[in-house]
């Protein structure tokens, strides 16, 4: 040993070198196992497959417990291209009723990004149960193909399409922005389906399955301890009376317009009709969905437009009710107040025009719809001595009007409602020049014309306020969610208009009652029911006037408020008034006895010039 004793020190170098390696490896391990967690994620993506179990969408039920919307199973044919083995392409094409080129095209699509040959992608969407039954019998012969169960909406009656809305595939942007959705998922796109999406959709169930390197499923991960079951969506209890809705749609058949019915003491929408409409079942899915949608979208009569919320119309004479209320509130008129008429508004040489009806007091002015009376009322409100300028007066009038709802979104639970328009003073400055306009310049506002625009829902809401004598509940279409039947507090809050005195309302209501008894809607009297209403004829620059009618019934403890507009139908008394009257009869008595009237209205079609619709599309 002594011959190379000097070498003994080398053992320390060797041991040090070995230990150095051990330390380096420990640090490296610490880095990839403790510090860098990207490997953990990669491992999960490697071995776990998330299988989604789609929940049942909540049902929608009407106010009388009748089902409106339920679900129907549908089947997506899925394919995992890598798993296809010895496929008899011809037989499969025959089974699916597609051509071979189409087959190859779809397989190619399933292979290319963002799809992957080892992951399942949709081969054919939403097959009907019959097709599913036929194909699944022999599907076992075609490895790599399987069915995934989804559910589609089923509408019991072909009505209320605009209110209910429809369900469709989620957009790419939404899928990226909201982690709940993946591409290909369904989402409510309009109507109730959209605004109550969060309640209706439920919760997806997720099953984690372990896969091996060939993406073959081995079994549940950790015996399914991480798995969640799908939770069905909440059922929605709609305030709609589906029979009334259907009846209203029948009455509006062949005509263009809208009807809104509200229960005034709650703000619950009983019916919301827009015509022309479409069968909601035509938009549920499957091959025909896109075709139907494209056709409806191109249709010149705009069947996809919900006129009850989005159609902004001049309210016409129905607006006089607000003038009467505001003027009383300001102490300018009372029951006995009269204004000269002489077939028109005297200060402007008989414009706006009026028909000869003799001298009328306040209720009479409502019943007879005197234009001159309300031109004076408007001028008197704006010209009050207490205001220093026409601006102060005009803004006062505008504020009062807006407290009844016009000019802003009502905040209903249906999406896409329009605010309408109550023009600002600045608007008239632009047109006439600053300070160059007087109440008489814009006096047609007083009779609901000119730039004033309301959507039918706002018209109905004004009548709710009158029926309630001063307040309203925000109109809403869902009155209960899930088992607790709870809804948003904002629909249970009373909103007061600027006019609160019951006497003022009674005065106007007297006039509205007279309207049915000996006024402009005398022909629409309903036996046994004291109804109140007001006709309107909205001047339409593009064609024949729109026929408007608003009203409520019965006078004491009102149960239903209605607003109806029929485009290009002329005078309010001829079309809108009988429709409202029939709706009242139907709702309050459960049947209609005036069958002749009903028949005449249902069977008459009123054509709308295309030009006037173009205008609406761009508005």
């Amino acid at each position: 040993m002594s011959r190379n004793a000097y070498l003994i020190g080398r053992k320390f170098y060797i041991i040090s070198f070995f230990l150095l390696i051990a330390v380096v490896y420990t640090l490296r391990l610490a880095y990839i196992q403790l510090w860098d967690d990207s490997y953990d994620l990669a491992a999960k993506n490697n071995a776990l497959r998330r299988m989604v179990e789609y929940p049942f969408r909540g049902y929608i039920i009407d106010r009388n417990g009748k089902p409106i919307v339920q679900n129907e199973p549908s089947f997506d044919l899925m394919v995992t291209p890598k798993e296809i083995q010895n496929c008899d392409t011809l037989a499969l094409c025959k089974l699916l009723e597609i051509t071979k080129t189409e087959f190859l095209k779809r397989i190619k699509k399933a292979i290319q990004a963002p799809n992957s040959p080892i992951k399942p992608s949709t081969f054919e969407k939403q097959m009907s149960f019959t097709n599913y039954a036929r194909i699944s019998e022999s599907l076992f012969k075609f490895k790599g193909f399987y069915f995934q169960k989804r559910s589609l909406r089923k509408y019991f009656k072909p009505v209320a399409a605009h209110v209910l809305g429809y369900v469709g595939e989620v957009s790419k942007e939404k899928a990226l922005a909201d982690p709940y959705y993946k591409e290909g998922d369904y989402i409510g796109i309009s109507g109730i389906e959209r605004s109550y999406e969060a309640e209706l959709r439920g919760k997806k169930g997720i099953q984690y399955l372990v896969t091996d390197v060939h993406n073959k499923i081995i079994g549940p991960y950790r015996n399914g301890t991480w798995d969640t079951l799908a939770v069905p969506g909440n059922n929605l209890y709609a305030s709609l009376d589906i029979d009334l809705q259907e009846y209203g749609e029948q009455l509006l058949r062949g005509k263009t317009g809208a009807i809104v019915a509200i229960e005034p003491e709650t703000g619950e929408i009983l019916a919301l009709i827009s015509s022309p409409n479409y069968d909601p079942n035509s938009l549920i899915g499957g091959k025909q969905r896109n075709q139907t949608f494209a056709r409806l979208n191109k249709d010149s009569t705009l069947p996809l437009l919900n006129r009850a919320l989005q159609g902004a119309y001049p309210p016409g004479s129905t607006f006089k009710l607000l003038g009467a209320l505001i003027a009383q509130h300001d102490g300018l008129i009372n029951r006995t107040t009269v204004f000269p008429c002489r077939g028109g508004y005297p200060p402007l040489n008989g414009k706006p025009k009026c028909h000869a009806h003799g001298v009328v007091n306040l209720p009479g002015s409502v019943a007879q719809s005197c234009n001159s009376y309300y031109a004076y009322v408007f001028k008197t409100i704006v010209d009050q001595n207490r205001f220093k300028s026409v601006y102060d007066g005009y803004n006062h009038w505008r504020d009062m009007v807006m407290s009844f709802g016009p000019g802003h979104h009502l905040g209903t639970d249906l999406p896409y409602d329009k605010p309408g328009n109550v023009p600002k003073a600045e608007y008239y400055d632009k047109i006439f020049g600053k300070g160059a306009w007087r109440p008489n310049t814009v006096v047609s506002l007083g009779i609901g014309q000119a730039e004033l625009l309301l959507v039918p829902l706002q018209m109905a809401n004004i009548i709710s306020i009158i029926a309630n004598k001063g307040y309203y509940f925000t109109p809403h279409v869902i009155k209960g969610i899930g088992t607790k039947h709870a809804i948003d507090k904002k629909f249970k809050t009373q909103h007061w208009a600027a006019v609160t005195d019951t006497n003022y309302y009674n005065m106007v209501i007297d006039g509205m009652q007279q309207c049915f008894e000996n006024g402009t809607a005398a022909a629409e009297k309903i036996s046994g029911i004291i109804a109140c209403g007001k006709t309107g004829t909205a001047e339409n620059p593009h064609g024949k006037d729109h026929s408007v009618f608003v009203g409520f019934a019965p006078r004491h403890h009102p149960k239903i408020v209605l607003a109806c507009i029929v485009e290009n139908a002329g005078w309010g008394g001829t079309w809108a008034a009988p429709i409202v009257s029939l709706m009242m009869e139907r709702y309050l008595t459960g049947k209609v006895v005036r069958l002749d009237k009903e028949k005449r209205i249902m069977e008459t079609a009123i054509k709308v010039p295309v030009k006037s619709i173009r205008k609406k599309r761009s508005a």
Partner: protein, 432 residues
């Protein structure tokens, strides 16, 4: 008190304990790597863990046989054993079966034996026998290249003991990994007096080679010139031996430009392994980079405590290739986490350092040199095997001692280790 005549007298219990721990842990991991709910029975010979259990029992029997044999047998028959195994390693090429492009297996029925695994202990024995009678002369005082070469003839001869089988295994059998293992014997030579400059020179070549593949040759040449000038001007501070330095610089620069040529001479799969490690070009994680990436994912997903025994998803579902043999460490990393991994590393290194400590206490040069041979071989296997699983070294397919599935491997390591245990136990009886 045990009798001094007992076969097991004097064996180092710590070494045996670590050996047993490693074997048991190794088997548990092979079981986990191959595990499949359908075949959960331990004694299922159709499954790899069942076979491994038989190999382990065989290894225990081998160990006992070695402990029974007189230590003098190994010293006396060192050369014949070596010769026998060298012949076996050549013969295997002619009578062995070709598996995956290499001819390195003797096959009898279902059982295969790889002689390249066994030659390691034979080289250890022969090298120990040779070196214990020689002095590795240093050529420091000798002038002239030929003369200095002649003076160091013992060193060159000693190297032949492992260079010859290395070439046989690499060229004839085409088993690059098992061939490279034999370079570990350099450590033994170093301990016995090999001029350290040779080792530094070897490192220098490897470093230049790797850098040349990663950076532009011009940059490396410039930095080398700078490095040499810096050394001459500020460290040596004179220009003695200037010709020698210029020659060394010239050789280095040749190496820089030759590296890419050498790289291109590598086999395609070896080239891609270098590429994967050095991040050269674009590495496709689904093709050439797959193994290393999946190995890192499996280990990395283990975290501190691991996913739990038999709970690993990456190794269990075959994302990691060769997981029961070369990539067995991935199972450890995924299921036992950081804690389990450092325990395995610590056990291995404790064993290696324990062997060195034991080697240094031997009275005979023979036993000491063999001890270093054992330590060096284990060190090389552990370092390279774990290093490649961690993505620190290129993929070289060699087993993790006592862990990896395979009969030849576990038997060869057992023989290698237990001969040393026997030599150590008999250290008082063996004369220098």
């Amino acid at each position: 008190m045990r009798s001094e005549n007992s076969y097991f007298y004097g064996i180092d219990r710590l070494t045996v304990l670590i050996y047993l721990l490693l074997v048991v842990m190794g088997w548990l991991n092979v079981y986990a790597a191959v595990y499949d709910e359908k075949h959960a029975v331990i004694f299922d010979i159709s499954q790899k863990y069942g076979k491994q259990l038989i190999w382990i029992l065989g290894a225990f029997i081998l160990a006992i046989i070695i402990l029974i044999i007189d230590a003098g047998f190994f010293t006396s028959f060192a050369y014949p054993i070596y010769a026998l195994l060298l012949i076996a390693n050549i013969l295997v090429v002619f009578i062995g079966k070709e598996i995956k492009g290499s001819r390195s297996w003797f096959r009898v029925g279902d059982i295969g034996v790889q002689p390249a695994e066994f030659i390691k202990f034979a080289i250890g024995l022969a090298l120990a026998k040779f070196l214990s009678n020689q002095v590795l002369h240093d050529a420091k005082s000798v002038k002239g290249i030929l003369k200095s070469f002649w003076v160091q003839r013992n060193t060159w001869f000693a190297m032949l003991f492992f260079v010859v089988p290395l070439l046989a295994i690499k060229i004839l059998q085409n088993e690059t990994g098992l061939a490279l293992v034999l370079t570990a014997f350099i450590i033994v030579l170093y301990r016995e007096g090999l001029n350290v400059n040779y080792i530094l020179f070897g490192f220098f070549i490897i470093v230049i080679f790797i850098f040349s593949l990663s950076y532009s040759p011009i940059i490396i040449t410039l930095s080398l010139i700078g490095l040499f000038l810096f050394f001459l001007l500020f460290i040596q501070r004179n220009f003695k031996n200037l010709t020698r330095w210029v020659l060394a610089l010239g050789f280095s620069i040749m190496l820089v430009f030759g590296s890419n040529e050498m790289y291109n001479r590598l086999l395609p799969h070896q080239r891609t392994r270098m590429d994967v490690l050095l991040g050269r070009g674009s590495v496709n994680l689904k093709k050439e980079g797959y193994n290393v990436n999946q190995a890192k994912i499996a280990i990395g997903s283990g975290g501190l405590l691991g996913k739990g025994y038999l709970q690993g998803t990456q190794t269990k579902y075959h994302f990691v290739p060769e997981q029961e043999t070369d990539f067995i460490f991935c199972t450890v990393g995924e299921e036992w986490g950081f804690l389990g991994s450092i325990i395995v590393i610590a056990l291995h290194f404790t064993l290696i350092i324990r062997i060195i400590t034991l080697a240094e206490r031997q009275r005979s040069d023979y036993s000491r040199i063999y001890g270093y041979a054992v330590a060096s071989i284990l060190f090389f296997h552990v370092t390279v095997n774990i290093g490649m699983a961690l993505g620190l070294l290129p993929v070289i397919g060699i087993p993790l001692p006592f862990f990896s599935y395979g009969g030849s491997s576990i038997w060869a390591f057992t023989v290698l280790l237990f001969i040393f245990i026997k030599l150590d136990a008999s250290r008082l009886l063996i004369l220098r």
